[in-house]
Symmetry: C2
Subunit: 126 residues, 2 copies
Amino acid sequence: MNIKDVSTKLDIPADTLRYWERVGVIPPVTRATSGYRDYQPADLDWCNFAKCMREAGVSIEALIEYIDLYQQGDSTTDTRKTLLEDQLATIQAKRDAVQATYDKLAYKIAHYGQHGLNPFAHKEEK
Amino acid sequence: MNIKDVSTKLDIPADTLRYWERVGVIPPVTRATSGYRDYQPADLDWCNFAKCMREAGVSIEALIEYIDLYQQGDSTTDTRKTLLEDQLATIQAKRDAVQATYDKLAYKIAHYGQHGLNPFAHKEEK
DNA sequence: ATAAACCTTGGAGTGGGCTTTAAGGCAAGG
DNA sequence: CCTTGCCTTAAAGCCCACTCCAAGGTTTAT
């Protein structure tokens, strides 16, 4: 599968796919003899993983570190797991923050125009 | 309340508070005769609103647009409400994406090391 | 009245994450 | 074999959202 097809299928710009590979957010992609990238299912999985993590707010740096460990083999399994657990906690915090704002905003919209009902108020206005 | 106290209380860098005001993410802050900012409760509310929205991933641009409408007065109430509804939908999508990644990652961690159980796989590996 | 510790502005600098450009190589159709 | 359209790299450029700096004004404490 060439880069354009992957780009279309996963909805990631081709330039971004190249960038991710270059900096190490995903492992090196399988190549054809021509030198062209020829994405295998496992390569697609890594792209998908990177996409999900990025959307959840995980930094490029953290992903590079994870892939780096992955490429060092089985000896790093425990470290990798710990890393993922850290990221999970970060994602959880983010999710909760987004949820809290969602709730407040939904409330604000539902009561729009009513005086003194700013759910973002620092203290309750009377 | 001076800018440093607000910075401490809301955990937002003073430079960021100034930047937000300068570009219009929050309305102009109340000033003392010296020219120093003297944040009133309503000013704090706006800072808090901006902080929540930024954490939820709302762009500076969208916030500027909202504050711009707000400063034009009551005639823009409907437009502002629509704007917030749009942002709510965006935040909801973001929340769902983050949640989905959270779930997959939690699963991946729980089954770490088990073969063929990559929840980020593009298709199920047998 | 002077030093420390705030504050002000305008403008320049930074970092993260792409995104574009330049210069060129490979592949498939007619 | 030539055109069209894909692909390659390295390097430079760009945008967002801050973040820092310089030069100076104000406030408070001693």
